[in-house]
């Protein structure tokens, strides 16, 4: 990753947190003092390096891990805002990235019953829950949306 792309990546994450949502390529062009095509080309290189995930058809950010650019089953309240995590791992990751306590709301994929977890001092308040990862680590990026 070259320094220009690293700067764009860091600006993109900072803007995501400021806005509480994924910035658009046009917004990032302004923030990074580039034109939109340059910002989008930079995002595409970051996508290729797994530094974020784009919807290649629209150019919108799908994932700036651990944050999701789209609605998911993992809602996280942290730092005075609601966010979406890409998965259970990322839901905790939002608290970690923000260095905040938080609250995660989701549901059991088997029975549909709601699951609510408070994260305080990096610890969940319900130790009975289990995390299941279906895809082996070597294949996580084969299809990151499925993973």
């Amino acid at each position: 990753m070259n320094e220009d792309d690293l700067e764009l990546r860091n600006l993109t994450y900072a803007r995501f947190v400021e806005l509480g949502r994924a910035p658009t390529a046009a917004e990032m062009a302004v923030a990074a003092d580039r034109d939109r095509a340059e910002a989008l080309a930079g995002w595409q290189r970051l996508h290729a390096e797994h530094a974020l995930v784009l919807d290649l058809a629209t150019g919108d950010i799908t994932m700036a891990n651990p944050f999701s650019g789209v609605a998911t089953a993992y809602r996280v309240q942290a730092g005075g805002r609601w966010w979406y995590g890409n998965c259970a791992w990322d839901a905790f990751g939002i608290c970690a990235a923000l260095h905040q306590e938080g609250r995660i709301e989701t549901y059991c994929p088997d029975c549909g019953q709601s699951i609510e977890i408070a994260v305080r001092n990096q610890h969940p308040d319900d130790a009975s829950l289990l995390f299941h990862c279906l895809v082996p680590a070597a294949r996580w990026w084969d299809d990151i949306v499925f993973t």
Binding site: M1, L6, R9, N10, Y13, A14, V17, E49, A51, N65, P66, C87, A88, W89, D90, A91, F92, G93, I94, C95, A96, A97, L98, H99, T106, C108, P109, D110, C111, Q113, I115, I117, V119, Q122, H123, P124, D126, A127, S128, L129, L130, F131, H132, C133, L134, V135, P136, A137, A138, W140, W141, T147
Partner: protein, 71 residues
Amino acid sequence: MNLFRSGEHIQRWLAGREPGATIPVEKLSELAHAWWEDRLSPRWRPHTADSNQAILDRLGLTGDFWRLPSS
């Protein structure tokens, strides 16, 4: 990568598919904090595969399932 109410719920959800790996939610939180805590730092640099593997190893997430591809 989902949270479940119990191992029985995982088995039912798998519906005969080969299981992956299951860890307690407390371990997941520990993993997430180690993995993501620097993500918003202005000094962030891409993690190497070795550094990510070291996080997994340190948390006892070892074996073929948790083996990352080398970069």
